[in-house]
C-alpha cells in the first residue's frame, strides 16, 4: 500500500491532508504511564518496597517479552511505544502487594506474548493484556492471588475502626482486618453470623467517616494500584483533559454501578443505601478499571454509542459479580467479558451517517 505514495526526488508527494495532530501513538501511551505514576508512587509508600519490586519485575518482563518476540519473528521493535510498559504497570496494579515475584513474571510474559503478540501485536489483541495476565494468575495460583494482602499491623485504619466497634469477637476482628474492604463487606457478615456475632458489625466498621476518607486516600488493603481513588482520579483527569480518553466509558461504567447498587440496596431494605453505593464506587478496582483498563483503546469500541454500551455492560457485570458471584470483586472479569463483545458492539453501534435518517 505504501507504493501509492511516490517519493519524488526532493519533494514529498502524498495525498492530503499534509499535516497531522501532535498526539501520536507513543505520546498517548507515555501519557497513560504518566497518569498512572501518582498511584504507583503511593502504592510503594503504603505497601513498601515489595510492591515496587512487583511493578518493576512486571514492567521488565513485559518489555523483555515484547522485545524477544519482535526479534524472534523479525518484526520492527515496538517497545518504544510504551504499550508494554502500561501492560506491566497495570498487571502489577492488579495483584496483591505481597504476591511472589516469580508469579507476576509469568503473568507478564503471558500478557504480552499470548494475549497481545500472538494476536498480532498492538492494535490487534481482543483482550486487555494486563487483565488476561491477571486472569491467568487467578486461575493458576488462586491462593497467592487472594491471600497475599499487605499486613498493616495494629496501626492500620481498618484495625482501629474494628477495635472501636463494640462486641466484636477476636476471630471476627481478624476476618475483617485481614481482608480487603470489599472482601470483608462480602464475606464478613456471613462469617460473623457463624461465630454468633452481630453481622452488621461489619458495616459499623466499614462505613465510618474515617474509613471513607481512607477509601479516597488509599491507605487500606487491596491490590497494588487500586486503593487510592483520589490519585487514580488525578491521573484520569489528566487523560480526560488531554483527550487521551473520553468520558463515555468511565462515566457510563461508574454511573451504571452507582445506579444498580443504589437500587439494589434501597430495594433490599439495607439501612444506608447511599453509603453502600459510595463504598462500592471507592473500594476495589472500579476506579482503576473504569479509567485505565476499560478505556484501553484496542479492546474497547470505537464509536461513542458503542463506548457507552460497553461501559454500561461492564457496570452490570461488575454488579452481578459483586452481589451474586463467587468473588468479592468483579471489575477485571467484567471488562474481559465485555472485551469479547466489542466486535459485535462496533457492528451495531455505528454513528448516524450524515444525510441519512438512520445509522
Amino acid at each position: 500500500m505504501q507504493d501509492d505514495n511516490i517519493k519524488a526526488p526532493g519533494l514529498v508527494l502524498s495525498n492530503a491532508p499534509h499535516i497531522n495532530a501532535p498526539q501520536s501513538l507513543g505520546s498517548i501511551m507515555w501519557l497513560v504511564v504518566l497518569a498512572l505514576t501518582p498511584a504507583l508512587a503511593y502504592s510503594t509508600f503504603i505497601f513498601g518496597l515489595h510492591a515496587l519490586l512487583l511493578i518493576a519485575v512486571s514492567v521488565a518482563v513485559c518489555v523483555a517479552s515484547e522485545a524477544a518476540y519482535c526479534l524472534l519473528i523479525k518484526k520492527p521493535l515496538t517497545i518504544n511505544d510504551g504499550s508494554a510498559v502500561i501492560t506491566g504497570i497495570l498487571l502489577a496494579f492488579n495483584v496483591p502487594p505481597e504476591a511472589p515475584l516469580w508469579m507476576i513474571g509469568i503473568g507478564a510474559a503471558f500478557a504480552v506474548i499470548v494475549a497481545k503478540q500472538l494476536f498480532g501485536g498492538i492494535g490487534f489483541n481482543i483482550f486487555n493484556p494486563a487483565l488476561a495476565g491477571r486472569a491467568l494468575l487467578m486461575a493458576s495460583w488462586p491462593v497467592h492471588m487472594t491471600t497475599t494482602w499487605h499486613s498493616f499491623g495494629e496501626s492500620n485504619v481498618l484495625s482501629q475502626a474494628a477495635s472501636n466497634v463494640a462486641g466484636l469477637p477476636e476471630q471476627a476482628y481478624d476476618i475483617i482486618t485481614q481482608a480487603t474492604p470489599l472482601g470483608a463487606f462480602k464475606e464478613g457478615p456471613g462469617l460473623l453470623a457463624d461465630l454468633g456475632a452481630a453481622p452488621d458489625a461489619v458495616y459499623r466498621t466499614l462505613f465510618t467517616p474515617e474509613m471513607f476518607k481512607s477509601y479516597l486516600v488509599g491507605n487500606i488493603g487491596g491490590c497494588i494500584g487500586e486503593t487510592s481513588a483520589l490519585l487514580l482520579l488525578a491521573g484520569a483527569l489528566l487523560l480526560l483533559f488531554r483527550r487521551v480518553i473520553s468520558w463515555h466509558i468511565p462515566f457510563s461504567y461508574i454511573g451504571t454501578v452507582a445506579a444498580i447498587m443504589f437500587s439494589y440496596y434501597s430495594l433490599s431494605g439495607f439501612g444506608s443505601p447511599g453509603q453502600a453505593t459510595l463504598f462500592h464506587l471507592l473500594t476495589g478496582g472500579l476506579m482503576l478499571g473504569a479509567f485505565f483498563m476499560a478505556t484501553d483503546m484496542v479492546t474497547s469500541p470505537v464509536t461513542a454509542r458503542g463506548m457507552i454500551i460497553f461501559g454500561v455492560g461492564c457496570g452490570i457485570l461488575t454488579c452481578v459479580i459483586r452481589l451474586w458471584g463467587g468473588y468479592p470483586e468483579g471489575v477485571s472479569y467484567s471488562i474481559l467479558l465485555m472485551n469479547s463483545t466489542v466486535p459485535l458492539i462496533d457492528r451495531f453501534a455505528k454513528p448516524k451517517v450524515f444525510g441519512t435518517k438512520h445509522a
Binding site: M1, Q2, D4, N5, K7, A8, G10, L11, V12, L13, S14, N15, A16, P17, H18, I19, N20, A21, Q23, S24, L25, S27, I28, D81, G120, G121, I122, G123, F124, S246, M297, V298, T299, S300, P301, V302, T303, A304, M307, D346, K350, P351, K352, V353, F354, G355, T356, A359
Partner: protein, 442 residues
C-alpha cells in the same frame, strides 16, 4: 454565545499569521503564461486560437466544450507561442496555451466601466457568467453557470456564501471580504437575481471579525434593504465543506448521494461571488485571481493578485523565494490541497493558495497499526467509521468496505489528521472509492 456549527470536525493550528491582514499586492505579469485548457471540473475547453496568433488580454482562447465545461481566456496580451502538453495540477500532461506577453494591456491599471446589470434579465446575467469562464474559486472549480442554473423542477430558496475559509494558513477569502465587501455584496445580489431568490446567508468563521464587520456594514448600507445575513460560525475544520456549511447555516442535511439543491440551496465561495461580480458588472473575464502564498519557508508570505497561467516557480520567486529546501509545495491548503511534484505548474482558477512546507511541518509517510482509539470516528463530519474502511481496503477486502458507505466520505481528511498512528485514512478511503468505481464500470 453559541456559534452555528456541525458535528465532528477538528481544530488544527490556524497558522494564518504569516499572511493574515496583509493587503493585496499585484504580482508582476509573467513573460510566459501557461494557460491550461482544463482549469475546471468537466471537459477541457477547445482551443480556438492557433500558434503564432496574437491575442488581446482577456480574449477568449478556449471555448467551453459541452454543458459541464468553462471558457478560458488569455491572461496576458501577446503571441500564442505553442499549444502543447504541460504539467498542471490536474494532470501530468494537460493541454496548455503558451502565450508570450507583448503589446498593450487593455484592462490593467484602468478602472472598468460599470454596467447597469439591474435592468438585465437573469438569463442575460447567467450568460455573462458563462462567457467570463467563472468556476468555483474555492478549489473545487466546478463551472459556476451550471450551479447557478438548477433544473427547473428544483426549488431554490437560499444562496449560501462560503466565507468560512476553514483551511489553515489560507487568508485570501478573509482579505477579499475585508477589502471588497461592497463588491461581494453586489455579487451576491447578482447571483440572487440569477437564481430568482431573495435570501442569502454568508457564513464566516468567527476568527475573521474584520471580514464579518465589513460585510455587515455594507449590507446595512443597502437601499432598499435586502435579506442578506452574515453568520459567525464556530472556527472548526471543515466548516467550509459544502454539506457542513449548509447544515451549520440552515440545519438542512444534504441527503446521502444528493446535491445542495436537494436542500433548496446553492453554495458559492466568496471568491466566486467576486468573480461573478467582475464578470457581470465589469464585463471582465476570469483571467486573474487573488491567492495566498504562505508557509514557513516563503520569504515574503502574503496575499497577491496573480494572472492565471503564471508558473508557481515565478510566483514564489516574486514572493522573495524560499528560505530552505521545501518538503512539500501544495496548491491549496494543508488539509485538502494537492502536493505538487515540481514548480513548473501554472496557477489556475481553482488555486486559492500556494503553501510551502518544510520537512518538520509535513506528516510522516510511515504509519503504524490502528489502535482503535476512535478519534477518526469522533471527528468524521460524515458520520463514518474511517478506521474500519481503511483496515478493510488495506487487506484488499472491497466487499467489507462497501457496506461502510465510502461514497459518503467528503474527503476532508480530518480522520488522517487526528490519527495517532499517522494512518493515511482518507487516502485509503479514496482508494476504496476508486476501486469500487472501476469495478462498477467493469
Amino acid at each position: 454565545m453559541a456559534f452555528s456549527t456541525f458535528s465532528g470536525g477538528i481544530h488544527p493550528p490556524e497558522n494564518k499569521g504569516p499572511s493574515e491582514g496583509k493587503a493585496f499586492s499585484n504580482l508582476s505579469v509573467p513573460q510566459l503564461c501557461y494557460i491550461p485548457l482544463q482549469q475546471h471540473v468537466g471537459k477541457p475547453a477547445k482551443p480556438i486560437v492557433e500558434e503564432g496568433e496574437t491575442v488581446r488580454e482577456g480574449q477568449l482562447i478556449g471555448l467551453a466544450d459541452g454543458y459541464i465545461s468553462a471558457n478560458v481566456h488569455a491572461s496576458v496580451p501577446g503571441k500564442v507561442v505553442k499549444i502543447a502538453e504541460h504539467p498542471t495540477v490536474y494532470s501530468k500532461r494537460g493541454m496548455c496555451v503558451l502565450i508570450e506577453a507583448q503589446g498593450a494591456f487593455s484592462t490593467s491599471g484602468k478602472p472598468l466601466e460599470s454596467i447597469k446589470w439591474e435592468s438585465m434579465s437573469g438569463l442575460e446575467l447567467l450568460n455573462r457568467v458563462a462567457e467570463a469562464g467563472v468556476v468555483g474559486l474555492g478549489g473545487a472549480a466546478f463551472p459556476t453557470q451550471v450551479k447557478l442554473h438548477p433544473p427547473r423542477n428544483r426549488q431554490i430558496d437560499t444562496l449560501i456564501v462560503n466565507g468560512s475559509e476553514c483551511e489553515p494558513y489560507l487568508t485570501v477569502d478573509d482579505m477579499l471580504m475585508r477589502t471588497f465587501p461592497g463588491e461581494i455584496v453586489e455579487g451576491i445580489r447578482i447571483v440572487m437575481k440569477i437564481l430568482g431568490i431573495s435570501k442569502a446567508l454568508i457564513g464566516v468563521e468567527k476568527n475573521k471579525p474584520h471580514a464579518i464587520a465589513s460585510l455587515k456594514k455594507k449590507i446595512a448600507e443597502l437601499a432598499p434593504p435586502e435579506n442578506i445575513g452574515v453568520a459567525a460560525l464556530k472556527t472548526k475544520y471543515p466548516q467550509g465543506a459544502e454539506k457542513q456549511l449548509i447544515y451549520s447555516l440552515t440545519r438542512r442535511e444534504v441527503p446521502s448521494g444528493g446535491l445542495p439543491m436537494d436542500t433548496a440551496t446553492v453554495v458559492q465561495n466568496v471568491g466566486t461571488i467576486f468573480a461573478v461580480r467582475e464578470a457581470v458588472a465589469l464585463g471582465k473575464p476570469l483571467f486573474e485571481r487573488y491567492i495566498t502564498v504562505t508557509g514557513p519557508l516563503v520569504k515574503n508570505p502574503g496575499n497577491y493578485k496573480v494572472r492565471l497561467g503564471s508558473l508557481i516557480a515565478d510566483v514564489i520567486e516574486e514572493c522573495g523565494g524560499l528560505v530552505a529546501e521545501p518538503a512539500k509545495i501544495i496548491m491549496g491548503g494543508p488539509m485538502c490541497g494537492v502536493a505538487l511534484d515540481g514548480m513548473d505548474v501554472p496557477v489556475v482558477k481553482g488555486t486559492s493558495g500556494i503553501l510551502v512546507l518544510g520537512h518538520a511541518d509535513v506528516r510522516p509517510m510511515d504509519y503504524l497499526p490502528c489502535i482503535r482509539c476512535g478519534r477518526c470516528v469522533a471527528v468524521c463530519p460524515a458520520g463514518l467509521v474511517p478506521n474500519e474502511m481503511a483496515n478493510a481496503i488495506e487487506k484488499g477486502r472491497l466487499d467489507l468496505v462497501e457496506p461502510s458507505r465510502p461514497f459518503d466520505c467528503i474527503m476532508c481528511g480530518s480522520c488522517s489528521y487526528v490519527c495517532p498512528s499517522r494512518r493515511p485514512l482518507s487516502h485509503f478511503i479514496k482508494l476504496a472509492q476508486e476501486k469500487l468505481r472501476r469495478r462498477q464500470k467493469e
